[in-house]
């Protein structure tokens, strides 16, 4: 299938064909990644996998219309085909919104040199086996079917264009997943914890105990009577909900009538205590980025500030349509995807710790303080089936949930098999209290625990 070229050779060939076809405005986006993962079952390595992947996307802008083509096949013939496919696709675009190739002139953040050691396959295997041992030791009811998983992934993102931009970001991190299975009274219960960062920083015992506690704490859970409850969403549950509705903050969705936040900039869309931040350089994040999918500098901003919608997230196209500057949020789900809008590390700002401890007697420590404030209610720790049960276009959600009763201001018995229903836009306005326990899911979406009154819960007959 032809001789494989280096990326540099392939890039030069693509540019040659672009020039030959009189394409003045173009861009090449390149990603490459190397990853290793180990999976443990019982006391043995069940799976060991290495992945070496790369892909290239060519985008041209002709008469304001963007044409895309991508490939993993770096040969001379493919370089030619890539340019012709993109040109043909640009010719088929009818949308009147103008697309752009970004100019030079932005100031880009400089990432600190990543000096973290790259773990070897043997290091990962040892750590995964040790984690599995900790899982079994954490509780006598931990059963076979329990799995520990360790992975390391290093990624490179590069973008160059016909305006002379030439950018590159590198990110790398280790990941660890603890997935215990607990057997009790003929029933099985599963738990889950995951961490990202440097392998040497993983506290395997603590991770194992947290994961096993997640499973054990649900033993004996029953449904709850249907009705209206005060609900406290745990930090991770709320982060899950925020991640599901992140697209409502996209100017692209808004301009296309898919988000009810269209035209709401400057308006109150949430309670005063809600501030939502989008930060590509969030200090604790393992995925820091300096530029977006079009090469625009990435920077931190408040999307919602004290309840007011400060800005939607923009790429160059949506910004031009709205007459504003891009917020540097051009997103590409993968190198092969068309450009959309996506957030970076995206989180609801937590309440300040000192303040909540000093000024409010009832609030001791999140989430205990919230339990005391709620008195009676439900503490929801997990939401399921979000791709089906939560709709970003309408804001409606009706989600299968797991958690605990809140009784006499304290965490009570575990509960499961019930749904919590509402509307995300209403919920943002009705948040009564925000905790101080910010945590993240998938290293991307974050929230503290939050409290909302009067949510509809469906479970057993009341």
């Amino acid at each position: 299938m032809g001789i494989r070229m280096t990326y540099q050779e392939f890039k030069e060939a693509v540019i040659r064909y672009a020039v030959e076809n009189q394409i003045a405005d173009y861009e090449l986006y390149y990603t490459e990644s190397e990853s290793v993962s180990v999976e443990i079952f019982k006391e043995e390595v069940k799976g060991y996998s290495t992945e070496d992947s790369m892909g290239i996307c060519f985008r041209c802008v002709v008469n304001g219309k963007a044409g895309y083509a991508s490939t993993e096949n770096r040969t001379e013939e493919e370089a030619k085909s890539l340019v012709l496919r993109a040109l043909d696709n640009a010719d088929s675009i009818e949308s009147e919104e103008k697309a752009f190739i970004h100019e030079q002139g932005d100031t880009y953040a400089v990432l600190e040199e990543n000096n973290a050691a790259v773990p070897s396959g043997a290091d990962l295997t040892d750590a995964a086996l040790a984690l599995q041992k900790e899982l079994y030791q954490a509780d006598s009811r931990v059963a076979d079917g329990t799995q520990a998983y360790m992975a390391y992934s290093g990624e490179k993102y590069a973008l160059c264009n016909s305006n002379g931009l030439d950018l590159e970001d590198r990110v790398a991190c280790s990941m660890c997943y603890a997935m215990p299975l607990v057997s009790d009274g003929g029933e099985m219960y599963d738990g889950f914890t995951n961490k990202r960062g440097e392998l040497k920083d993983f506290d395997l015992k603590a991770i194992a105990e947290e994961a096993v506690e997640d499973a054990v704490s649900t033993i004996g859970a029953e449904s709850v009577p249907s009705g209206r409850y005060t609900v406290i969403f745990s930090n991770k549950a709320m982060a899950t909900l925020l991640g599901t509705y992140a697209s409502v903050f996209s100017a692209e969705e808004a301009q296309k009538g898919m988000s009810l936040l269209n035209g709401k900039e400057g308006e109150k869309i949430a309670a005063d205590i809600i501030t939502i931040v989008d930060d590509p350089l969030y200090p604790d994040s393992v995925i820091k980025r300096t530029f977006d999918g079009e090469g625009v500098a990435a920077y931190a901003k408040n999307v919602v500030e004290n309840g007011t919608l400060a800005t939607l997230l923009h790429n160059l196209k949506t910004a031009a349509k709205a007459g504003v500057k891009s917020t540097g949020n051009a997103g590409r789900l993968s190198y092969a995807s068309v450009i959309g809008v996506s957030p970076y590390t995206f989180y609801i700002q937590p309440a300040e710790k000192e303040q909540s401890e000093a000024s409010d007697n009832a609030v001791k420590k999140t989430p205990d303080g919230l339990f005391a404030l709620a008195g009676e209610g439900i503490y929801v720790t997990e939401l399921m089936g979000l791709h089906a049960g939560a709709n970003p276009v309408t804001g409606d959600f009706s989600l299968a949930s797991k958690g605990f009763l809140i009784t006499d201001g304290k965490k009570g018995a575990p509960v499961k098999n019930f749904t919590v229903s509402g509307n995300f836009f209403d919920l943002l306005k009705e948040v009564e209290k925000v905790g101080d326990d910010l945590d993240f899911i998938r290293g991307k979406y974050g929230s503290p625990s939050i409290m909302v009154r009067n949510l509809a819960v469906a479970g057993k007959e009341a």
Partner: protein, 459 residues
């Protein structure tokens, strides 16, 4: 795609450190996705996916690797990298690769890649215009056409050398109805393991107006009051209930590790005697169909549950080793960069004996779920959930006003027992199923069924 000699050398390299089985999977695919917003093409994604995946087994241990290239050195490096994870002497001394041809039971008439964008755009545009024209309340319409031309090669140390070409097309329309700052959404789609002959089978106007009808109906609906009640679930995409509540728990990837509520239950009653359920990868030109699975095993029709008795799991080679079972032709992967595992193809509840009208009239107060959204399940606990896109209240045996915001939740093993009426007319619908080996096309299906009691989430 790759020569037999090269593949053999890669297999031998992969086996050099003591593996008892090796497999090369190579792929060259073309994927195109055209999006139309309102009535204008907005974006076109156009991707070539090409690379190799190598796996070796030693007993039940698996080592795998992948690389984004079909170049000989990339394949050989990948094979060496995989072998490096084991230490031992070679157990397999020679391989004789024999090309195996499988008849194509899913013939394609019009290869999408050979047709201009224009033709595809015009078809979707017609659907979008019909959606827009349906009502003044339709505020936005999004249409898409997806084509996949997936070429795969599978070779194993057992001597298999097989290739297949999987062509799929799918058209989808989503409509939004708006009123007083409220949005509701409706959708309709059709897909098949076919080329553009799909266009001649469905009237695009019908696809568009159905999507809009659903959106407008839901815009004028109130929220359902939560509770536990009987539910009649319509045929077609209603089959997602079986897919989630039961199908995933019958995949060997859960069963072999003891992570399924149905592990160890073969031959026992796990469902109401009215329930017979099938996973069939051989249905001609169906969206979830295959000629061979991604380990090279021919597609099969697997009866999973017969009159309530668990008859079979869906098994891949690696998990089959743990379970002492043969592959059922169920191993699937999104692409070379995913490790394959047991997955569904076209899964449905088979036709029963009940009349549709009897199912509705049997319900004094309950929900008629006319159109389902997606769902999910935890195979360990069997807890599942799914969303009702278009629902109606049933009162005194009659379908009454539409209701929005309903979701159904429960435990797989319980709902299977509660399916106590099964209609006669099976219909199937298309979905994309996401799991550990990636996102793959699957059909779900069933006739109209009654679930005697289930928790319905609402306001």
């Amino acid at each position: 795609m790759l020569s037999k000699e090269l593949v053999k050398e890669a297999l031998m390299r992969a086996l050099a450190t003591g593996a008892d089985y090796a497999e090369v999977f190579a792929e060259h695919s073309l994927n195109k996705n055209i999006t139309i917003i309102s009535d204008k093409t907005d974006k076109i994604a156009d991707a070539v996916i090409s690379g190799v995946g190598v796996r070796i087994f030693k007993g039940t241990r698996c080592v795998s690797g992948s690389a984004s290239s079909l170049a000989p050195e990339a394949l050989l490096n990948c094979a060496s990298r995989v072998a490096d994870a084991l230490t031992g002497a070679a157990m397999v001394q020679d391989i004789c690769l024999k090309e195996r041809l499988f008849g194509d039971i899913h013939p394609v008439k019009i290869v999408p890649a050979g047709v201009s964008n224009r033709e595809k755009i015009e078809y979707v545009r017609e659907a979008c215009l019909a959606a827009k024209d349906y009502s003044e309340e339709i505020s936005q319409v999004r249409g898409s056409f997806v084509e996949v031309d997936h070429n795969i090669l599978i070779a194993t140390s057992e001597g298999l050398f097989a290739q297949d070409r999987q062509i799929r097309s799918r058209v989808a329309v989503s409509a939004i109805a708006s009123r007083d700052g409220e949005n509701q959404e409706g959708g309709e789609n059709h897909g098949a393991r076919k080329g553009l002959e799909l266009f001649s089978e469905f009237d695009p106007k019908e696809i568009g107006s159905r999507a809009s009808k659903q959106a407008v109906t839901m815009l004028h609906a109130g929220y359902i009051k939560a509770g536990t009640m009987p539910v009649a679930i319509e045929s077609g995409f209603g089959g997602v209930i079986f897919h989630e509540a039961c199908g995933h728990s019958l995949e060997a990837s859960s069963v072999a590790l003891g992570q399924s509520q149905f592990a160890g239950k073969l031959g026992t009653r796990i469902a109401n005697e009215k329930v017979t359920a099938v996973d069939d990868g051989t249905i001609p030109n169906s969206w979830g169909s295959i000629n061979i699975d991604d380990e090279g095993t021919p597609a099969q029709k697997n009866v999973l549950i017969e009159n309530g008795i668990l008859k079979s799991y869906m098994v891949d080679k690696l998990n089959g080793r743990r379970m002492g079972m043969e592959s059922t032709g169920s191993s699937r992967r999104q692409s070379y960069s995913f490790e394959p595992t047991s997955r569904m193809t076209n899964t449905y509840i088979a036709a029963g004996q009940d009349e549709d009208k009897d199912i509705i009239t049997s319900i004094e107060y309950g929900l008629y779920a006319k159109s389902m959204g997606g769902g999910s399940v935890n195979p360990v606990t069997g807890q599942f959930n799914f969303a009702v896109r278009e629902g109606y209240i049933i009162r005194d045996g009659r379908i009454c006003e539409p209701v929005r915001g309903a979701s159904l939740i429960g435990k797989g093993s319980e709902i299977l027992m509660n399916i106590d009426m099964v209609g006669k007319n099976v219909a199937r619908a298309q979905g994309m199923c996401g799991s550990s080996s990636g996102s793959i096309p699957t059909d779900v299906g069933q006739p109209l069924i009654r679930v005697s009691s289930i928790v319905v989430g609402g306001r």
